[in-house]
Symmetry: D2
Subunit: 149 residues, 4 copies
């Protein structure tokens, strides 16, 4: 079940440019996102704990919307490692498997399909010790028929 076109692309973002693009978004800066690795069409990001991301303060567990944010943004950025033609999220689907009760959280995103109008990426959020907490997929609108700018 390997994604298509898994090779690296000269049209995509990489290295310091990727971390820099990621951090332009104020919400990403607030989440404290860090690029851990990009390898063969798979992007690994991490997010540290911060108290404001909590939903249930008794557990305490991370809000489902924060986990959805990670799946949304990791999918977009793994596509951006391949082509800069990604424009905006069209839709997002998330399944929640277990409460996320500690940090840092790790997100692994992989390219499923790069299309002319829509591209798709799957992501997983895991605990510090690798337990699957949430997984899902984003579908993203492409600019100019998906041709890299």
């Amino acid at each position: 079940m390997v994604g298509e076109n898994p090779s690296a692309s000269p049209d995509g973002l990489a290295g310091a440019a990727l971390q820099s693009a990621l951090s332009i978004a104020p919400f990403h800066a607030w989440l404290g996102l860090r690029v851990e690795d990009v390898n063969d069409g798979v992007l690994h990001l991490s997010m540290p704990w911060r108290d404001e991301i909590v939903s249930n303060p008794r557990i305490p567990s991370v809000h489902g919307g924060v986990l959805a944010s990670l799946i949304d943004l990791a999918g977009m950025y793994v596509l951006l490692t391949r082509t800069r033609a990604v424009s905006a999220t069209a839709s997002l689907h998330v399944d929640y498997h277990r409460p996320a009760s500690g940090g840092p959280l790790h997100v692994h995103a992989r390219v499923v399909k790069i299309g002319r109008t829509l591209s798709v990426a799957d992501s997983e959020v895991r605990s510090p010790d690798g337990v699957l907490l949430a997984s899902g997929r984003g579908s993203y609108l492409m600019r100019d028929g998906g041709i890299a700018a």
Copy 2:
């Protein structure tokens, strides 16, 4: 296309208790959520603007993860107005229709189905002047076979 069991329920949260429950979550407090209205199985929440919710600072537009958060939490809380047996989000699906470029944002959630194991609610996020920005649905796990505690 009316949801089931649209009548109010003595088992659900209402009024000040609803606003209070909503604000227990640190992430909800950070978002600044406010209960505007509950009427016949439809919950109306509002969220003020704050600069950290921005994704693209050039537009500036609200991060898709923040809109997903609104759809997730509004769906859970509209179910809680009917039964306290709602436990956790099982899955979330969001479609993004237009960039959200100003606040406050308004979320309207309605009950689709109250079940023993899973309940479903649909939500819409609208701009200050009523334009549809995002819509979607959450599916929620029920506690103790959905019997109100």
Copy 3:
């Protein structure tokens, strides 16, 4: 929670032309679909029982894929009542609420958003006596920027 642009459109399909377009698809003919009503952006279709649609022969219950088919096609055809620019299904999401154990099944679809690249419609499948069996949404690619042909 009313869809946008609910008025009828001279660019869309109606009446006998709608039934005729629906029945061109061999799978639709096999399902025996019938247009019951189109009114103010809501399409009502019915599907009779046939033994091959069963998943669990002990109940017997309709296969989830058949219910997904109904939600997919009803969403596309309610959009076609408004604009002929609908091209293909981009994505489909379905929640199953109860087993469907008798026919005919009734599908009610409504327009959520007509966009330039993507349009969205919500649908519900109900039993002969009106019980909600499944609900969901399709997202559809538009042709030529959504301009009616």
Copy 4:
């Protein structure tokens, strides 16, 4: 991005029992499904062409509902290779990548998560020459807290 618990299970269906269980469903018999392989938590099914599955007779392309059916049932059966406690589909999400214009179609499903209440499986539908046509995920209700019967 490996699924959890990938080892084979003595509680699951295998071999002739799996093909036999799959074919009990009249809709599966109509689709002509065949178990090609089960290996390490991945199920491979094939479906031959038949004219009634067509949506657009001019291409001709397989109806999106048929592709959704494949993703729904392949996800359920890959879970059944691991535990017989799978009960019913709770939700289904499908993305359509390219028209499916020839057969046989191949479906590859893998276990994402086996839970007490809900289990999740991802599936891909590919053309005879391996091109990705559709992909998606099903979420399935578990019986008796997911304990194998």
